[in-house]
């Protein structure tokens, strides 16, 4: 392609061309596509401005981990345990809650940064100087489905493309032989595929699932990647014949770019079939590495494998990777028992991932996001539970140009409402895109007469989070 124009210009031209796809003339888009891309619509392309992060690993804690039991230390909650909340509860609540419930876990300060972390995350606590906490997150939906969709797609109301699709649409992929957006063991509940679908963006930007939450990560695969009993040389012979037939066919049809693109897509599929299983096969990793991720312990094995896979995919140039710890964190009761169990399952694998990314130099340009769809109420549901709370919760990021050893924003004295430096889910999206070098107001797609954005008409980039 031309080098005469600026990188940003080139990028936006490609995106303009892509908009044609959504305009609904599929055949037409290929003329435009063929012009806009060297190879494919998922080929890597420049960002709007210099990126801090090249890729994202999203560690999704499905169910809603409690901020006041993990990273948001609230001494007054301890002091006023059992007393009523001294201010009003939200207009809309998912369930009724009672009085304040102190955290069953002790908090301690860690690292140079002195970040407070509860006993639930002893291993992640060792990495606090790499973490960038946002303790003033808030969203709008108090039910799982709405909140999951809002976090993944920016909309709790309508079907919209997921953030992984937007990122892939904006930046393309760095590896043609792998899907650019991969989600490992995602949930089929609470929005399911909509959480990784491209909605009205072209289908090539949809997430590729590896298994789903109902299968252990050990047996999760990408569908139709395996050629079964067919030998490689047999399939090669097939593809050679296919290429010959297709080439002749296209030659009689003015080399229609739509036809030529499909010829190439078979070659890509063949390469993917070779490369993807190698990337997905973690058996070749050393015992020390596996142990780092907790794969030698049955409790941490499942999520540890997800995290190790995420690292391997990141290394291979996949743009957006999601690991899901599915629907475990919803402790309306049994908070003590199950939050402890959940944290135990993910704490070591996450610490292992952070360590591994760091020593491999990947953390610099890999944005790690740890988040649930919402937090939980500091008030008690029953004796030993907490209700959903979208009004104030904690997430953290690491690497990818975020400020290490930093904590931003705060909730009130009890951890119910985000209060200082509030960050809405839309703001988080705007900030993540900015870290990737994308302007959330310019990353648009024309559909049904409107230019749609991940952030709808909202979203402020929180530059305080930048290193």
């Amino acid at each position: 392609m031309s080098t005469e124009r600026g990188r940003g210009d080139l990028g936006s031209t490609r995106r303009d061309a892509l908009k044609a796809l959504g305009a609904g003339f599929g055949w037409l888009s290929f003329a435009a596509l063929a012009q806009a891309f060297d190879r494919s619509p998922t080929a890597a392309r420049p960002a709007h401005f210099a990126p801090r992060a090249k890729r994202v690993i999203f560690l999704f804690m499905h169910g809603g981990p409690s901020q006041v039991d993990t990273f948001d230390h609230k001494p007054l909650l301890d002091r006023d345990h059992g007393k009523p909340l001294p201010f009003a509860k939200p207009r809309i609540q998912f369930a009724q809650t009672g009085n304040l419930l102190k955290s069953p876990w002790a908090f301690k300060q860690h690292g140079q940064s002195g970040a407070w972390v509860s006993e639930l995350f002893p291993n992640v606590a060792r990495h606090v100087d790499d973490l960038c906490f946002v303790k003033s997150m808030h969203g709008t939906n108090e039910a799982h489905g709405g909140a999951l969709l809002a976090l993944h797609t920016g909309s709790a109301t309508f079907v919209r493309p997921s953030m992984g699709s937007w990122v892939l649409y904006g930046l393309g992929s760095e590896n043609d032989n792998l899907p650019g957006f991969i989600t490992i063991c995602p949930t089929l509940g609470h929005g399911g595929v909509n959480n990784w679908s491209s909605a009205f963006l072209p289908g090539i930007y949809q997430g590729t699932p590896i298994g789903n939450a109902s299968v252990p990560s050990k047996s999760a695969t990408i569908r139709h990647l395996e050629r079964g009993s067919v030998a490689p040389e047999f399939q090669r012979a097939q593809l050679d014949l296919l290429r010959d037939l297709n080439t002749e066919h296209a030659a009689c049809r003015d080399h229609d770019p739509m036809l030529e693109a499909r010829i190439e897509s078979y070659e890509l599929a063949f390469r993917m079939q070779t490369e993807a299983p190698q990337v997905l096969d973690v058996d070749g990793e050393s015992a020390a590495t596996k142990s780092l991720y907790g794969m030698d312990d049955p409790i941490t094995e499942n999520f540890g494998r997800q995290c190790l896979l995420a690292r391997r995919l990141a290394e291979s140039g996949v743009r957006f990777i999601q690991c899901t710890h599915s629907y475990k964190w919803d402790q309306h009761d049994q908070l003590k028992e199950l939050h402890a169990k959940n944290a135990r399952e993910v704490d070591l694998p996450i610490a292992g991932l952070l360590h591994d990314l760091k020593v491999r130099g990947l953390l610099d340009d890999t944005l790690v996001l740890w988040a649930g769809e919402f937090g939980r109420t500091p008030t008690a549901q029953g004796e030993n539970g907490r209700d959903h709370n979208p009004h104030g919760f904690t997430i953290w990021m690491a690497g990818g140009g975020t400020k290490p050893g930093f904590s931003f924003g705060a909730t009130d004295d009890y951890g119910f409402y985000a209060e200082r430096d509030k960050v809405h889910v839309h703001d988080l999206h705007a900030t993540m895109l900015a870290l990737l070098g994308l302007d959330h107001e310019r990353l648009t797609y024309r559909f049904a007469g409107r230019d749609f954005r991940l952030t709808d008409v909202e979203g402020e980039v929180v530059t305080d989070l930048f290193a």
Binding site: W27, V159, R262
Partner: protein
């Protein structure tokens, strides 16, 4: 690199030329002069937008090359080409044509026989006959329905947050198929979907059902069912309906106006809320509970529903009367019995001494779990089941002489788990097929009650009394057998026996409320009675206080009968108190004194063991009256109308009112004034605003407003869709957006001419399609020639046909049809679960199944977990209105073609069919058969050689253990070709 004119500019320039504007003027005066942002104060200038102007009645232009003209469609197309000095592409060959039309009109490839017949038809009108045949095919409606369902965001599950099965959505789908097949006029098709429920009821019952079912269009949208802000949920549903309705029928993107005036199009927020009022007054939700439910309606004429309601009302009344009479009669029996309480107690106590007791946990054979801790207690061991499957216990009972026994059990259960009881092992006579079916209020020891099971007759010897169930078991504590013997005096034997069984079982328990009595039970002499009194008094202090303990404070009784009389007296005092309590408060639950309430309950229970025995003791005249009522109840039950099918459907809200503008779309911030229900005012110059009566939502008036013959959008949008479905691209390339920010039509006069013709024909869809398909324009080849392909890559002039990739359904249906596996059965649902069940859940289980060779139209459309074939081939989302399917290319599609079992199975079937051949068959002949099966033509020489070379390579491969695999591999390749995957 040469900078191209932008897509929009290219289309616009060509359109302006066609509109007659001089290209030299440089710009469309209308578009150029409109401010970039819409200002709601004045519609006038926006009314000049091409799509908002009146539909013209253009005369088909004259052309030079009249020989090319088949019908007037061609005149518009050719006139345009002749301006540019271009010639239309030549006519496609017959095989290409038939494949194009078959896929286009039925979604299926032709059969080889159909191709051969067309090739052999040398008579004039051969093509027209093919078009007519396809339009008459039942598969025509299926293909048209698939297009329509994309617009209607059809799905079999809700999607979004709570993915519940829309278990009746398929009725809407099947109606769409029927409607197209019957060539229902489009105006009626539209009206039924928006307001079928408001049309006068048809005399034709099927039509009544269709009218309701069609309104499913409004209900099908995905809804955030667990949204706890319910007023927001309601407005989100309204918005979704409004947006889909406007895009589907008007080609307007009205959703934008929810929060503010539309940025580009003349759709002010005020008009949005005029329309929102129409939908807000439409009941779309059945309830707004925690997880809310969408509305469904029974499919029946009003008269049948009323008759059913009357029947239900009558049945309820009779059932109530029966219950009242039975209850009174049984109460009378029990009261009578209570008056004899002392005698019954003594008689039953004596009878109980002959009882045969079987503790449930002492079974000789069985697989039930014994529990003394959780469900049972140290004293009350119970048997229960851990898992499902067949559960049983057998007890060896030895009898010394032939006799008949009455069998009772003490048990507890929270849900009904009836058991089977057999006299002697698994093959023994059935004592009761469904015993212990009543629930007792819980599973714990305090929930245990005694109930009669049945009668068993044994000879002398040992018998294996068996209880069993094919699923979870009730918690059984003990069984007791009472010999069929006369009881003392004139008391009804059955009732005494039942009381005896109860007492026998109570007697084992250290905390039984009857303990006080049990001390006296065997005291037949005054001496024994004295000793009993001492025992009872001592015992009383060693256990929790019982309901009869107070009687011990009275002087010592001289006999057990006297103590029994005192118990009866006390019981009758309590009964009188209870009667008084009920007179004061008919809903009273207790007397408020735990001891008295306990007494009342234990005495009640003594008489509740054997309901049949109670009934048998009812006064004969009363029993006859009850029998008469029961006969009527049974008759009403027998004549009960079968339940009506239900469909997703709406009705008008019970109270009708207007809606205010919601500031920034928020239901929490309303403008002070209400907006009268209505439609978009920008069309007021052509179509009078709908006049909506205060008693109606206004849906019917909205439909009629859309169908006003001068409405500038409805007919244009509809014919453009029919065109786009058959050509692969519309005259307006964005079929659901006729607003200002869309590309104008490539052939505006043709669009208007078609729109007028469509309305004039009475909205005849098949006639319109016949016109399009028989045109020379449709029959052109899709090969442009290199020069034209470069000059007009987007085919804006329509100098050739449009090449398109098969969509997901065509790929699958094509594979199944060509390989002979397709099951052409139409209609019905393939959902496995019940209406309203979760189809995907928190645990990520996916209940949908796709391994049926039915047409893809009938496969479950599961939002949030779309069948991977669908999502792979660009049908990724069934939650949004799809104006047309994108056609992307990606490695994921190629992987699917290479490795999915569907393609493998199709290839295997084609290879197998090609093997049924004459002897001395050559490879070349078999290759040709495979070619013809998949691509409807013989291979060219070079292709034949390549295929032969492939067979050699494949046979040499390590997979070649099976001689057939090379042939399967060859058929597989043909399915992967662009020739199979595209329509020329």
């Amino acid at each position: 690199m040469r900078r191209r004119m932008s897509l929009r500019t290219r289309i616009a320039v060509l359109a302006w030329i066609a509109l007659g504007f001089a290209a030299a003027r440089g710009a469309d005066p209308v578009v150029a002069e409109l401010p970039s942002k819409f200002d709601a104060s004045d519609f006038t200038r926006w009314r000049e937008h091409w799509a908002f102007r009146a539909v013209t009645r253009p005369t088909p232009p004259t052309v030079a090359d009249t020989a090319w003209i088949t019908n007037d469609v061609d005149r518009f197309v050719l006139a345009r080409l002749e301006v540019d000095g271009l010639a239309p592409a030549p006519e496609a060959d017959r095989t290409t044509l038939l494949r194009r039309a078959s896929y286009g009109l039925t979604g299926l490839p032709p059969t080889q026989d159909e191709v051969d017949a067309f090739l052999a038809d040398a008579e004039p009108g051969a093509w027209e006959r093919q078009v007519d045949r396809l339009l008459a095919s039942p598969h025509y409606g299926e293909r048209m329905a698939r297009h329509w369902l994309d617009l209607a965001r059809y799905a079999d599950s809700n999607g979004l947050d709570e993915n519940l099965a829309l278990g009746n959505a398929w009725r809407y789908r099947d109606w769409v198929v029927r409607s197209f097949n019957a060539n229902e006029p489009f105006d009626r098709f539209l009206t039924k979907q928006l307001a079928g429920d408001l049309l006068p009821e048809s005399a034709d019952r099927a039509e009544v059902e269709d009218q309701l079912t069609a309104t499913g269009f409004l209900v099908l949208g995905p809804k955030m069912l667990a949204e706890q802000d319910k007023p927001k949920l309601v407005m989100d549903v309204v918005d979704e309906q409004l947006d889909v309705t406007a895009r589907t029928f008007l080609g307007l993107t009205a959703g934008c106006a929810r929060c503010h005036d539309h940025k580009f199009d003349p759709l002010p927020a005020r008009d949005y809320y005029a329309l929102a009022g129409i939908f807000k007054n439409t009941a779309t939700m059945a309830n707004l509970e925690f997880v809310s439910r969408w509305n469904q309606r029974e499919l029946a004429p009003a008269a049948e529903l009323a008759a059913r309601d009357r029947h239900v009302e009558r049945s309820n009344a009779v059932a109530q009367e029966l219950a009242n009479r039975e209850s009174a009669a049984r109460g009378e029996v029990r009261a009578r019995f209570r008056r004899e309480f002392a005698r019954v107690l003594v008689a039953a106590t004596d009878a109980a001494s002959g009882a045969l007791m079987l503790e449930a946990e002492t079974y000789a054979r069985g697989n039930l779990h014994v529990d003394h801790e959780h469900w049972g207690s140290a004293e009350v061991g119970v048997i229960h089941s851990h898992v499902g499957g067949t559960q049983f216990a057998e007890y060896d009972v030895t009898t010394t002489e032939p006799a008949t026994w009455h069998l009772y059990a003490r048990y507890a259960q929270e849900e009904s788990r009836p058991i089977r009881v057999l006299a002697d092992g698994a093959d023994g006579a059935v004592v009761a097929a469904s015993a212990l079916d009543a629930v007792t209020g819980g599973f714990m020891p305090e929930h245990q009650v005694v109930a009669r099971i049945g009668t068993v007759t044994w000879s002398a010897g040992t018998h294996g009394l068996r209880i069993e169930r094919d699923s979870h078991f009730p918690h059984v504590d003990a069984l007791v057998l009472m010999r069929d013997e006369p009881v003392s005096g004139d008391l009804p034997a059955a009732l005494v026996r039942a009381a005896a069984a109860q007492l026998a079982l109570e007697r084992r328990l250290s905390t039984s409320p009857w303990r006080t009595w049990f001390a006296f039970a065997d005291a037949r002499t005054s001496e024994a009675c004295r000793a009993a009194y001492d025992t009872a008094t001592t015992e009383r202090n060693a256990r929790p206080r019982g309901p009869f303990d107070a009687l011990l404070d009275m002087p010592m009784p001289s006999s057990r009968e006297e103590f029994a009389s005192r118990m009866q007296a006390q019981s009758m005092v309590v009964d009188r108190a209870w009667d008084a309590r009920l007179r004061a408060d008919a809903n009273a639950k207790d007397l408020g004194d735990p001891e008295l309430d306990a007494l009342r309950r234990v005495v009640d229970r003594l008489f509740a063991v054997d309901a049949a025995a109670v009934d048998a003791a009812i006064e004969p005249s009363v029993a006859a009256e009850i029998a008469t009522i029961r006969t009527e109840r049974d008759e009403l039950e027998r004549t009960k109308p079968a339940p009506f099918s239900r469909a997703l459907a709406v009705r008008d809200a019970e109270t009708i009112g207007d809606v205010a503008v919601h500031k920034r779309g928020s239901h929490l911030e309303l403008e002070p004034e209400l907006v009268p229900r209505g439609a978009f005012r920008v069309f007021d110059h052509l179509v009078p605003s709908p006049v909506i009566p205060p008693t109606s939502s206004g849906r019917l008036e909205l439909a009629r407003w859309m169908l006003h013959p001068e409405h500038p959008l409805t007919s244009r949008v509809a014919v453009n869709r029919l065109w786009a479905w058959q050509f692969g691209a519309g005259i307006v390339r964005q079929p659901s957006n006729f607003g200002l920010r869309t590309e104008p039509p490539t052939h505006p006069e043709l669009l208007d001419w078609l729109a007028r013709r469509f309305v004039d024909s009475g909205y005849d869809v098949k006639a319109m399609l016949r016109l399009l398909l028989t045109s020379s324009t449709y029959r052109m080849s899709s090969v442009a020639g290199a020069a034209l392909a470069q000059a007009d890559p987007d085919n804006l002039r329509i100098a050739r046909q449009f090449r398109r990739r098969l969509d997901a359904e065509q790929v699958r249906d094509g594979l199944l049809r060509i390989s002979g596996q397709l099951d052409p059965t139409a209609g019905g649902t393939l959902l496995t679960g019940a209406d309203g069940d979760y189809v995907t859940n928190d645990q990520s289980a996916d209940a949908a199944r796709y391994d049926v060779p039915r047409r893809s139209l009938y496969l479950p459309i599961i939002r949030n977990a779309m069948y991977d074939l669908f999502s792979t081939f660009d049908y990724a989302d069934a939650g949004v209105h799809l104006e047309c399917r994108p056609a992307t290319v990606g490695a994921h599609q190629s992987l699917w073609m290479m490795n999915s079992p569907l393609v493998r199975d199709a290839a295997r079937a084609v290879a197998a069919a090609s093997a049924t051949a004459p002897t001395n068959d050559s490879d070349a002949a078999r290759i040709e058969r495979i070619w013809r099966a998949v691509l409807f033509r013989a291979p060219r020489v070079d292709e034949l050689q390549r295929a032969q070379a492939f067979l050699e390579r494949a046979r040499a491969s390590s997979t070649a253990g099976d001689a057939e695999s090379a042939w399967v591999g060859l058929a597989h390749v043909l399915f992967e070709t662009n020739e199979f995957m595209h329509v020329d």
